[in-house]
């Protein structure tokens, strides 16, 4: 598999993955990584996800609150805002349409 193509594909989907993972409830960074990487094939790492959390927060799609940690400093929990939910909805619609169309196109090619 072409690494560049894979990287580009993943890059485009990171934001959707993060928003979708947070749709299940608030999470702190490492917890969020675990939530995403529980699904085979996603394999997102810290350098990709952590700066994105900062960007999404600045853009108003996420809010942050501090919560206690058993050993370390207070954890920062991220939660979707209304604006974040709207963005997720738009992205999900676009992704589903694209996915369905692409699947049909591939199937059509296989059948012919």
């Amino acid at each position: 598999m072409d690494n560049a193509w894979t990287a580009q594909l993943r890059k485009g989907l990171v934001e959707l993955a993060v928003l979708a993972a947070l749709n299940g409830g608030e999470a702190y960074g490492y917890q969020l990584l675990g939530r995403i990487n529980a699904f085979p094939g996603l394999n997102l790492n810290e350098p990709t996800v952590y700066p994105l959390l900062a960007r999404l927060t600045r853009a108003g799609y996420l809010t942050v609150r501090s919560g206690p940690s058993p050993h370390g400093p207070p954890r920062r929990y991220y939660c979707l805002t209304e604006s974040g939910r709207d963005r997720l909805k738009q992205m999900r619609t676009l992704w589903q349409t694209t996915n369905e169309s692409l699947t049909q196109l591939i199937q059509q090619g296989d059948e012919s």
């Binding site: 810290e46 350098p47 952590y50 927060t57 940690s69 050993h71 370390g72």
Partner: protein, 279 residues
Amino acid sequence: MNANTNAPMNMQSEIYDARKALGGYLERTDLLLARSGLSRSERDETLGQISEQFYDLLGVPIEEADRELTENAIAGLAPERAFELNDVMSTGQILRATWYRFCIGGIVPIFLNDHGRKRVVWGELIKVLVWLGIFMSLVFAIINMMMLGSPSWRWIVSGIMFGFMQIGIWLRFNWLYHHTPVEAMPRAEDWSAPRLHKIRYVWILTVGGPAFFVIALFPTTYWLVSAILNRPAWPIDNGLFVIVSVSLGVPLYLLSMWDGWRRRRNTRRFQNWDRSANM
């Protein structure tokens, strides 16, 4: 393996190691993120998340963490090189990355890797320096057009010379730095980012600064001012010489003071943040 409560002396040194290990990892990561053009707030946010992850992986309060636990926790974090991001998300990021690489001495990232060898990205150095030369030439051509109404070959040539002299200075500076014996350089884990910045800054001030001022900036400015005032550039006019020296020296001094202050402030912020992260 947890630290034994019966060995307080040994525990003291192990506590220091755990904090130092996390601090070293965060400093190097911060350097790489800054080189990638992330803003201070994005870097702080990222470093905060990494710190949280470290404590999760550690599984015990840092006061009880020994070297083995600490090393395991560090190994559970992403490799530092992974933070050398290539994704460009905004124009601001490009500008920050360019500014950082130009001013903070990140043009040539020289580190000792895990095998104790220096790693220099020469391709990146050449690319940045060529762009710098071209950019400075263009700047001078534009200034010339704005001040004199039309470009003249003299100013274009001086701009090109100015730009490419910087390339020469930087190449020389980096050549010197590159040829420092490996034995004389600490290993990466002992060489924190602020220390690296400091040493580069001293080099820039002692070698690059005077060379840049004497060889390139001063004659070019003197030439420019003499042309604007319609006075001969040669023989040197004492009054003009003093005016140009002061008008260049004072802003450069203030700039270096400001840069030093900014650097110290960032280091302090980072240290405070690191300390608060360990509370």
